[in-house]
């Protein structure tokens, strides 16, 4: 595969399995590497955002001369059929497979058909398939827009070493039209990068790194802007400032869906109160919802997993009574996640083949040692031997078949687990602080599991639990799922976190649990899976895939938290019992007094003394200070 990837070389020289969303900050490497190619895409099997594949080249397709404002309606001259192609077609076309005549009927000649066949822009593709990016319905679209902007802001602040201070505003413009504004105190974005980041799909800095981060593909914020444009015709408005001594840059952008190109409708320099930071405003059609999938609920979940962030939320609902502020709990930023090389156990054949082609290493041994973690000279020799390849072979010349043997050998040889210090968990203490601040409960506990590995990818699981207090006792527990600090909002039932939670016998921990379902009780469960590569079940990034290693770690974390909450529940029950016993004393001791008075003809004062003394004796024994 990717035999025509010469022009991609520059960008794909990075280990390329992770994806990155369009960040709010300047990303020079990606900019120079990926902005260039406007050429026929490599024959990589699928669109990069559909399957994690080593595509490095951004599939920006053959530019069309048409520069009309992006619209949903095809421009004149482009046959509707081209836009109406089914997804598979589009993917085929987008991935640049050799054009094949469509069998539509005898009336068209191959030449006729060739006239209709054309490239489809990635933007066009997603404009038509917006559900793939989380814009299936108006309420989800609103939440997804907030999510993408918030993810970007947090990533940008963290990478710049700044404590995030976010402001999220939602303004209602009409019944179903909203303006979402997300503002951060990040490093800002240099003027030249602003249009590409906000109005071009698959433009980003994180796609080519193997490192724990929120965004991956570089689609999110541009897609949100595109959705806004499609539904309201309004541009994305950006304000960004990179430093005290520089002016703020303000612009209005639209994405040209045909070309996947940004177009600046107007820009200027403005005064801005922030020294540095970025504000993005998107106008879109949406539905503002309360409850489970609400924006405030989402931001509360964000705050729990990001205790170093301060988030202010301005709701469109006047009933909410002013801005809602989620204060930060942490005093400093989390340790920055370290970028690592892929582990031999986790690499896919296609990726390996591409790496062989792209490497600068001169021989196989050097290649294995340089491109993978935990491969020593000895291990490299063992792998080559098992694959029947010479350790001195030139990587570029390894055949497809040899690559397959190499892949098998890499998985067969015993190799040390990858380093796990690349993961940056929230931490028990901070997660606890965040839970205590954001949820009203009686009992909180958090568990951070030691890092573990699935298929060569390091990951770490954290569990938080809040019990009692203001939480509803009769409902199914709230399960807050996170992947790399990002709350997962949809597809709960498909998620490994849900599966692991259902698999725990919560009855042991004094909670009720219907068969094959989540437990019921005044409980909030937080499960965070952090990894350099979180395996999602689909590109919508809404559910974690069912890897046994991951499920096991989640389960162990839940069991520990469960044991602790069971102790707490037991204590509460005992206290309640104790209270009942105390009222028992109050209730029945007077009757002991009455009976003894009747039998022994005691005076009233005598009886009162008796009751008083006996109460004292029993209370003493209740608190454990008995004499016998």
């Amino acid at each position: 595969m990717n035999t025509s990837g010469r022009s991609n070389r520059k960008s794909s020289s990075l280990p390329a399995r992770t994806a990155g969303a369009g960040p709010l900050f300047a990303a020079p490497v990606a900019a120079t590497g990926a902005a260039l190619p406007m050429l026929t895409p490599s024959p990589v099997a699928a669109l990069p955002m559909l399957t994690p594949s080593p595509v490095a080249a951004l599939p920006t397709l053959t530019p069309s001369p048409v520069t009309a404002l992006p619209t949903l309606t095809p421009s004149p001259g482009i046959p509707a059929a081209a836009l109406d192609q089914p997804v598979s077609r589009a993917v085929e076309a987008a991935s640049g497979l050799a054009p094949r005549p469509r069998r539509e009927g005898p009336r068209l000649t191959a030449a006729d058909m060739a006239g209709r066949q054309r490239e489809i822009s990635i933007s066009e593709f997603f404009a038509k398939n917006r559900h793939l990016l989380g814009f299936d319905n108006p309420s989800k679209a609103l939440l997804t827009t907030v999510k993408e902007a918030v993810d970007n802001s947090l990533d940008a602040c963290e990478e710049a070493g700044l404590m995030p201070d976010l402001q999220v505003e939602i303004h209602r413009l009409s019944e179903d039209r909203f303006r979402v504004a997300v503002q951060d105190n990040g490093p800002g974005i240099v003027k030249s990068q602003v249009p590409k980041i906000f109005a071009r799909l698959l433009y980003g800095s994180k796609f080519h790194t193997l490192k724990q981060s929120r965004g991956q593909q570089g689609i999110g914020i541009s897609a949100a802007g595109m959705y806004g444009l499609i539904t309201t015709g309004k541009p994305v408005v950006i304000t960004s400032r990179t430093g005290k001594n520089r002016p703020a840059y303000h612009c209005e952008l639209v994405i040209n869906t045909k070309k996947n190109e940004p177009e600046i409708l107007g820009d200027c320099e403005v005064e801005w109160e922030l020294e540095h930071g970025t504000r993005v405003e998107i106008t879109l059609q949406g539905t503002y919802k309360k409850g489970r999938h609400s924006v405030d609920g989402y931001l509360r979940q964000v705050a729990i997993a990001n205790p170093h962030a301060r988030i202010t939320y301005v709701s469109p609902d006047p009933d909410d009574g002013g801005p809602m502020i989620f204060e930060r709990v942490a005093l400093g930023l989390p340790p920055e996640p370290v970028e690592i090389k892929p582990h031999p156990y986790g690499v896919e054949l296609g990726v390996l083949l591409k790496m062989l082609k792209d490497t600068k290493a001169r021989n196989l041994s050097a290649f294995l040692q340089a491109e993978f973690s935990r491969v020593t000279l000895r291990v490299a020799a063992e792998i080559s031997e098992r694959a029947g390849l010479s350790a001195g072979a030139r990587p570029h010349q390894v055949s497809h078949e040899g690559g397959e043997r190499l892949h098998a050998a890499m998985n067969a040889v015993k190799i040390m687990a990858p380093p796990t210090n690349c993961i940056s968990p929230i931490g028990e203490e901070l997660l606890l602080g965040a839970l205590q601040q954001d949820l009203h409960a009686d009992f909180y506990t958090t568990v951070t599991r030691p890092p573990s590995v699935y298929r060569g990818n390091p990951f770490q699981v954290e569990v938080g639990l809040a019990y009692g207090g203001g939480l509803s006792a009769d409902d199914t527990v709230s399960l807050f799922r996170y992947a790399n600090r990002v709350p997962l909002q949809y597809q709960q039932s498909a998620c490994a976190i849900t599966k692991a939670t259902i698999g725990v016998d919560w009855k042991k921990y004094h909670l009720t649990q219907p068969r094959g379902a989540l437990p019921v009780g005044p409980l909030v469960l937080v499960v965070h899976v952090a990894s350099v590569w979180v395996p999602f079940t689909s590109e919508s990034k809404e559910a974690v895939a069912h890897y046994p290693e991951i499920i096991k770690e989640i389960r162990l974390g839940l069991l520990e938290a469960g044991r602790r909450v069971a102790l707490h529940i037991g204590r509460v029950r005992r206290d309640r019992e104790e209270g009942k016993r105390f009222s028992y004393i109050q209730k029945y001791i007077p009757h002991v007094g009455i009976a003894l008075q009747e039998i022994l003809a005691l005076s009233d004062p005598d009886r009162e003394t008796l009751v008083e003394v006996l109460t004292g004796v029993l209370e003493r024994s209740r608190s454990g200070g008995d004499e016998t």
Partner: protein, 382 residues
């Protein structure tokens, strides 16, 4: 009223007064022990005999199933405070019943508790349990439930014959003289509580009869006159009152008791055994209710042979009961003769009712059987 009778009345009153006095004293002592302990800042307790079969044994000397010395201590703690309070209030009720010359059944006591506010019983089983506890508590001091004025609902059997029952009226203090020869074809009915009764008799034995039918025959034909005895109808397994009545009569007048029941495992191991030695389940009260003086007149397994009685085959349940008695019952284990008799019965595989004698004529039992048996009273089964 003659001087002798007046003396007798006085004597009876005095006896009953003393009995009540002792009972009240015991209640007071129990209460003041608790009172003293509390004032000393200790948790008070009550000691109950353990009412389990493991704490029951057959006393050859006393002749009944006796409760052992194991005690269960109920300390007043947070979890026992409710029952503790209820027990004490029940004891207080008992004291006031004695002082006012009244009585209460279990049901009465349950309703009385409705005046106790928080300490009231919500269900009769609750109050029954507390009453059983008190009964056990005082049984240790030889005070029966009836003396505490908690009487059973069931009354006793019928009595006829050479007996005068002296029954003091609790309100007037007048002692009624009840002549059990003067009930015509009827009979005197044993009251629920017999503690206050006294007896005058010249009879030479008490005949305790299983069935009402046989009792009626012997009573109607004045068998008590010819045999100089007192007839008591038990009506199956004798009630507390019947057992206590026979016991007190036998004790006070030092006369033997002969049991006349059906010849089957139920008549022998349930009716007769209960009459004589009491039951294992309520061993703590056997001391009041058993009649160690009782002997088994008939119908014996040997009688079936000797008197050529018509029989019925033993039922499954009969066989089981007989085997169980031989194997497990301390009373039967104690007596070789009973083991032999039971084995004989099992071997014959038949049973005979006391009325089977009617085969030889309705009054054959009066004319032939009983006189013949009584001649050999020394040979009755123990």
């Amino acid at each position: 009223m003659s001087a002798a009778k007046q003396d007798r009345t006085k004597e009876i009153r005095e006896r009953n007064r003393k009995l009540d006095e002792q009972t009240v004293l015991l209640i007071k002592k129990t209460a003041s022990d608790i009172h003293r302990k509390v004032l000393a800042r200790h948790k008070p307790d009550l000691k109950f005999p353990v009412r389990a079969l493991s704490n029951v044994s057959y006393s050859e000397k006393r002749g009944y199933l006796e409760i052992g010395t194991q005690k269960k201590v109920r300390t007043l703690t947070v979890s026992t405070v409710k029952t503790f309070a209820q027990t004490l209030r029940m004891m207080s009720l008992s004291k006031s019943l004695i002082e006012t010359g009244d009585f209460a059944t279990k049901r009465d006591a349950y309703y009385q508790s409705k005046n106790w506010g928080e300490a009231m019983f919500h269900d009769q089983p609750e109050s029954d349990t507390v009453m059983d506890d008190i009964e056990a508590l005082f049984s240790v001091h030889q005070v029966s439930r009836e003396q505490l004025r908690f009487i059973p609902d069931e009354h006793g059997g019928a009595v006829a014959g050479e007996l005068v029952v002296l029954d003091p009226d609790p309100d007037t203090g007048v002692v009624e003289r009840i002549d059990c020869t003067r009930f015509g074809s009827g009979a005197y009915s044993i009251p629920s509580s017999v503690e206050g009764l006294s007896f005058e008799t010249s009879a030479s034995f008490v005949l305790a009869i299983e069935t009402g039918g046989m009792f009626q025959r012997l009573q109607s034909h004045k068998f008590w006159k010819t045999a100089n005895c007192i007839l008591v109808s038990m009506g199956g397994v004798p009630t507390r009152a019947t057992r206590r009545f026979i016991r007190r009569l036998a004790d006070e007048k030092s006369i033997p008791v002969y049991a006349f029941v059906d010849c089957d495992p139920y008549g022998i191991s349930n009716i007769y055994r209960t009459l004589k030695v009491g039951s294992g389940n309520a061993a703590h009260i056997n001391q009041f209710f058993c009649v160690p003086q009782a002997h088994f007149l008939g119908v014996t397994p040997q009688d079936i042979v000797d008197w050529k009685l018509p029989t019925h085959p033993l039922k499954e349940v009969d066989i089981k009961r007989a085997k169980d008695a031989i194997k497990n019952d301390p009373f039967f284990q104690q007596h070789q003769t009973w083991q032999k008799a039971m084995n004989q019965l099992l071997k014959m595989g038949v049973r005979a009712e006391q009325q089977a004698l009617a085969k030889w004529g309705l009054n054959y039992v009066i004319d032939e059987y009983l006189p013949a048996k009584l001649k050999a009273a020394g040979k009755f089964l123990p």
